[in-house]
């Protein structure tokens, strides 16, 4: 079932699991360690890269994403080793995107040349806020000044390929100050901006402070206004919103991330990394969702022993894959095109999949969704409400899919013995 475009190439992502300190809002899989064994980590990452690329039997890697943790804490030579491994085991195009997350600290900024030399082509800078009070609430390890200086440096080394991450909905923030902050940023930033609404995750320090009412985050209404304000401000400044949280001008989109939303295969290497690929090398043609072992020392032990630290493998059914495609695809401004969807599920079009449900018709009528010649996508208003629309869409997809399977079953099972009229549902 895998369309050729889905299978022949692969996105490659790897995790550097360490951070210098714990941000108050972050619940990612990360570890604070002062004595990281860089050589051991490098060897582990290289080894797992070799193993998993072997399992995937993929011909080409189209992009690399280096995430974390804080990957700018890794040695540039570690990154170079991994990229060399990728290039050795499989084919990489000469202009391949190699995106890396970095904290805007002076330490990281001072090593940008080395990262570039190692092969990094694109930098995603975790600026988060341009106000020191908020940076300290978020527990970041840099000041606004340091961030702006890092941004200048990054633009010097990665012109047109530098992205800035910002968080909104911070405690005490209001729409006006947010707009001011955005204006300030637009004057300084490069061609890509990611905006994330602050999510209070259970178990984080910030969550606790808000629970205990030591801090309060803006109301949902204010959050909505901040989001819409940001979309307007960035739009006016020539940024195209190509995904819920991502804005680019001059086409400077992150190819790697687009791959996630387009339902492409990807391979995850490193502690806690996630992957989606068919391990042809292991004799499996079905796509699997994989998670690598979370804890770095456990992961390393497994990599040494088995060549990889895959902790969980779940086979994905055709419906699983379509569900992900729907959920991820609608995050993009382009949405799901008919061509794209049918490539994945021949004979089961978008209209049949979701378009016939009364609720979905209501969404279309309310202009939250658009279903036209191009495909299915969110309207401007709809995008902000996507997670309210998705359960209905998913539910409908599941029902329609079951119906279509039953139909094709009945067609294959009840073929009349002699030539005659095609069986119909009339009884």
């Amino acid at each position: 079932m895998e369309g050729s475009d889905f299978i022949s190439n692969l996105r490659f992502a790897f995790q550097w699991p360490y951070c210098e300190r714990r941000c108050t809002y972050c619940n990612f899989n990360k570890y604070i360690s002062t004595n990281v064994n860089h050589d051991a980590m490098r060897d582990g990452l290289v080894r797992e890269t070799e193993t998993l690329l072997g399992y995937s039997q993929v011909k080409e890697i189209t992009s690399v994403f280096i995430g974390g943790g804080t990957p700018s804490l890794a040695r540039p030579s570690t990154i170079a080793s991994i990229l060399e491994t990728v290039a050795r085991v499989t084919h990489v195009p000469h202009n391949m995107e190699v995106s890396m997350e970095a904290n805007p600290t002076s330490a990281a900024a001072s090593r940008l040349a080395e990262f570039k030399a190692a092969g990094v082509t694109r930098l995603s800078l975790g600026v988060q806020a341009l106000c020191d009070r908020d940076l300290s609430i978020l527990g970041r390890d840099h000041t606004a000044r340091e961030a702006l200086w890092s941004l200048e440096e990054a633009r010097r080394f990665f012109p047109g390929q530098t992205s800035v991450d910002l968080i909104f909905g911070r405690p005490g923030q209001n729409v006006e100050s947010w707009e001011g902050e955005l204006e300030q940023l637009i004057a300084l930033c490069d061609h890509h901006v990611s905006l994330y609404q602050l999510t209070l995750e259970r178990g984080t320090a910030l969550y606790k402070q808000v629970q205990e009412k030591a801090l309060s985050v803006p109301e949902q209404e204010t959050m909505a206004r901040m989001y819409q304000a940001a979309r307007s401000v960035l739009g006016k400044a020539g940024f195209l919103q190509y995904e819920v949280s991502n804005f680019a001008k001059n086409g400077a989109v992150c190819m790697h991330n687009l791959g996630y939303w387009r339902g492409r295969q990807y391979l995850g290497v490193g502690p806690g990394a996630h992957g989606r690929f068919a391990p042809l090398g292991e004799g499996e043609t079905q796509r699997e969702a994989r998670i690598q072992t979370l804890e770095p020392s456990d992961w390393l032990r497994e990599v040494r022993r088995f060549g990889h630290g895959t902790r969980k493998r779940v086979q994905q059914s055709e419906l699983d894959i379509l569900e992900e495609l729907l959920v991820m695809g609608l995050r993009m401004n382009e949405g799901l095109t008919h061509q794209f969807w049918l490539q994945r599920s021949p004979g089961f079009d978008l209209q049949e999949a979701v378009g016939d449900a009364a609720e979905v018709k209501q969404y279309l009528e309310d202009e939250l969704l658009v279903l036209d010649d191009r495909g299915l996508r969110c309207s401007w208003e709809g995008l902000a409400l996507l997670d309210t629309l998705l359960p209905t869409l998913l539910h409908q997809l599941q029902l329609s899919y079951q119906k279509s399977v039953n139909r094709s079953l009945s067609l294959t099972c009840f073929v009349p013995p002699a030539p005659g009229p095609t069986p119909t549902s009339h009884t």
Binding site: A13, T199, M223, I291, E323, M328, L385, T388, P391, H395
Partner: protein, 663 residues
């Protein structure tokens, strides 16, 4: 049973020979599957030759008694000691509440199901047959208590030397008093550091009019003075009035269900005797049964050749359903009908609640579990019911709140069932005025269990609500708070007396629905746990009842309709509206939640339309988690109920309808 066997020769020193026969008969019974033991059968003249014959105990050597007490005052511990002293069970450290067989009983320290134990006791050169009939402590189970008492001539009234008289002490005392039983006051726990037995003795004198000198001061835990209790039982409690020469007349005072043997009826013989092979008839059903086995409970079943007048024991006669052994029924010999004994009124459910499986696929299993449980607890009434939100289920009637909780807990513990239990309601009544309706119902006064059937005010003369007499015992420090709590529950004070220098007994007439949900918890918390409460049925009173409806964006939500007293309408409406607001998720449009009486809106809450709801970050590592959440929500859509255009998740209904414990 083995314990008893080993001990038999010791107590029966006079009948040492016979005990051997008992042993043989038991072995025979076990291997031959209960075939008729040698010679004894339907042949009445043979009876006299029966070797092991409880008629060796003349009626004057028999004492039938119960222990009654407030919860935790040591009833079951005293029972353990009595069993040990008389050798019914071996004395060990582990004898804790031997008669409390259910897990729920041991966990809650309460007795739900009355048990019986027959004890052999030597006193002043004679051997007495003592039948201890255990009773539940809580008045929810007063029906069980009165059943037990009907087989007794006397009671031990246990009072904690530290806590003194509590609400259930009073309630139980009156049950015994009304049955004209000999009451022996026993002050327990005198070993406690803060025990004040003399103060408690004075309370007993004041409240129950029993001279304080008559109280026996004991420590059941340590065994102190427990022998005196047995002496007093023999001395003060009269033997049963029974006549062996009259034809059989046996009262069914309890029944249990055994998966293999069917119904096991606990019986008290007032006249005559009964033995294996007898053809007996139920005066209630007129059905005839052949007796398979009779025996005594020690406390395990211990088969005997026959049971005689004045004795208490069990009977197995091939009854397949608990209903066949109707509590209060009289059994007599088929050939010799007698006037039946005065039975009891059937248990009357006072508290009703809907019960639904958490998942409809569990319906059949739950139904089986409910059926099995009601086999052993015939006081629960079961009606099939269904709710558009919760699916198919039942409306169950319970004797009281504790009864409901115990039932629920037993379902969970013994049958591993998980259920949704709706907030309890009480049986309201309406006296109809509309002749059309009277014709339709076939009677003028109807009971309303489901608010959907609440007749319109124009068609009724009056509405009635059940009321209870509530007894509160409390240290006087809390009097102010308790009075205002009771007033807020529409209670009318009937009586208030000091039972000693610091403790008060108050009696209120309460509408039952005001106390069924959280009254007891509120009382406990405002009195730091010191006040106790109990209640008994006090009939019905005229009440200004109204039906309250709930609307979501103008559409009525049928399953949320409730019957409330007019005075409570606003508070109830507001509370439910707020709970709905907290549980219905935001939707793409604004939702108005309204509580209404007729056309009049009395409370309103608004759920604002969702303005932004989209996960900010969704990359490789976030996808699995996001999909899991969305799939769960999509799954929830299937169980979503649509009221107009509003999607209401099942959880919202559950949250509104189910009993709120953390109030």
């Amino acid at each position: 049973m083995l314990i008893g066997l080993g001990r038999l020769p010791v107590w029966f020193s006079r009948w040492r020979l016979f005990s051997v026969c008992v042993r043989l008969r038991l072995h025979g019974g076990a291997s031959a599957g209960g075939g008729p033991p040698g010679g004894a059968g339907k042949d009445y003249p043979q009876r006299g030759k029966d070797n092991y014959d409880l008629s060796e105990f003349p009626t004057e050597n028999i004492r039938n008694f119960s222990i009654i007490a407030h919860v935790d005052h040591g009833k079951s511990t005293l029972a353990d000691r009595l069993l040990e002293i008389t050798g019914a069970i071996v004395k060990t450290e582990r004898n804790k509440q031997v008669l409390d067989k259910l897990q729920v009983e041991r966990e809650r320290g309460i007795t739900v199901k009355a048990q019986t134990a027959t004890l052999f006791y030597h006193h002043a050169g004679r051997t007495y047959l003592l039948n201890l009939i255990d009773t539940p402590g809580h008045v929810d189970f007063s029906y069980e208590v009165s059943r037990s008492l009907s087989a007794c001539q006397g009671v031990l009234l246990i009072v904690d030397a530290n806590e003194g008289i509590q609400a259930q002490t009073v309630a139980n005392f009156f049950l015994a008093f009304e049955s004209q039983l000999m009451i022996i006051p026993v002050i327990n726990k005198i070993d406690l550091k803060h025990a004040e037995p003399d103060r408690v003795a004075k309370q007993i004198e004041k409240v129950f009019d029993i001279p304080k000198e008559e109280c026996i001061q004991i420590s059941a835990k340590l065994g102190t003075n427990v022998d005196k209790v047995l002496e007093k039982v023999v001395e003060k409690i009269p033997p049963p009035c029974a006549n062996l020469s009259d034809p059989l007349r046996a009262l069914v005072f309890d029944s249990t269900y055994d998966h293999y043997r069917g119904v096991i009826a606990s019986i008290a013989l007032f006249d005559g005797w009964v033995q294996k092979g007898d053809k007996i008839m139920s005066s209630y059903t007129k059905k005839v049964y052949e007796v398979n086995e009779v025996g005594i409970l020690r406390p395990d079943q211990y088969p005997v050749e026959k049971l005689n007048a004045g004795q208490v024991g069990y009977l197995v006669a091939g009854m397949k359903e608990v209903k066949e052994a109707q509590i209060g029924d009289t059994f007599y010999l088929q050939k010799q009908p007698v006037e039946p004994l005065a039975g009891f009124k059937p248990a009357k459910p006072m508290v009703f609640a809907g019960m639904y499986p958490v998942d409809q696929s569990e319906y059949t299993n739950l139904r089986k579990a409910v059926e099995k449980l009601t086999l052993n607890d015939s006081s629960v009434t079961v009606h099939r019911d269904s709710s558009p939100a919760l699916g198919a289920g039942w409306r169950l009637g319970f004797l009281g709140l504790l009864h409901m909780e115990v039932f629920n807990q037993r379902l969970e513990q013994e049958y591993n069932a998980s259920v949704i239990l709706t907030a309890p309601t009480v049986p309201y009544k309406a006296v109809l005025s509309s002749s059309k309706l009277i014709k339709e119902y076939g009677e003028e006064e109807i009971t309303i269990l489901n608010p959907c059937h609440f007749p319109d005010r124009l068609q009724v003369k009056e509405y009635l609500e059940p009321v209870v007499t509530g007894t509160i015992l409390t240290p006087d420090d809390y009097i102010g708070k308790i009075i205002s709590l009771s007033q807020s529950r529409r209670g009318v004070q009937k009586n208030i007396v000091y039972i000693d220098d610091h403790r008060l007994m108050m009696q209120y007439l309460f509408p039952l629905n005001e106390i069924v949900v959280d009254f007891y918890d509120s009382l406990k918390s405002l009195s730091s746990g010191y006040a106790s409460f109990d209640y008994e049925d006090a009939g019905y009173q005229v009440a200004d009842l109204i039906k309250m409806d709930f609307y979501l964006n103008g559409k009525c939500v049928e399953e949320l309709a409730t019957i409330v007293h007019r005075e409570k309408a606003y508070a109830t409406g507001k509370a439910i509206a707020v709970r709905l607001k907290d549980t219905i998720p935001q939707q793409l449009f604004e939702i108005a939640i309204q509580a209404a009486i007729g056309n009049k809106i009395i409370a309103r809450e608004t759920i604002k339309a969702v303005r932004k709801n989209v996960l900010a970050k969704c990359y490789g590592g976030d996808i699995t988690r996001k999909m899991k959440l969305l799939k769960r929500q999509a799954e929830g859509k299937r169980r979503m109920r649509k009221i107009g255009n509003v999607e209401v998740p099942k959880d919202a209904f559950i949250n509104v309808l189910k009993r709120q414990k953390d109030k």
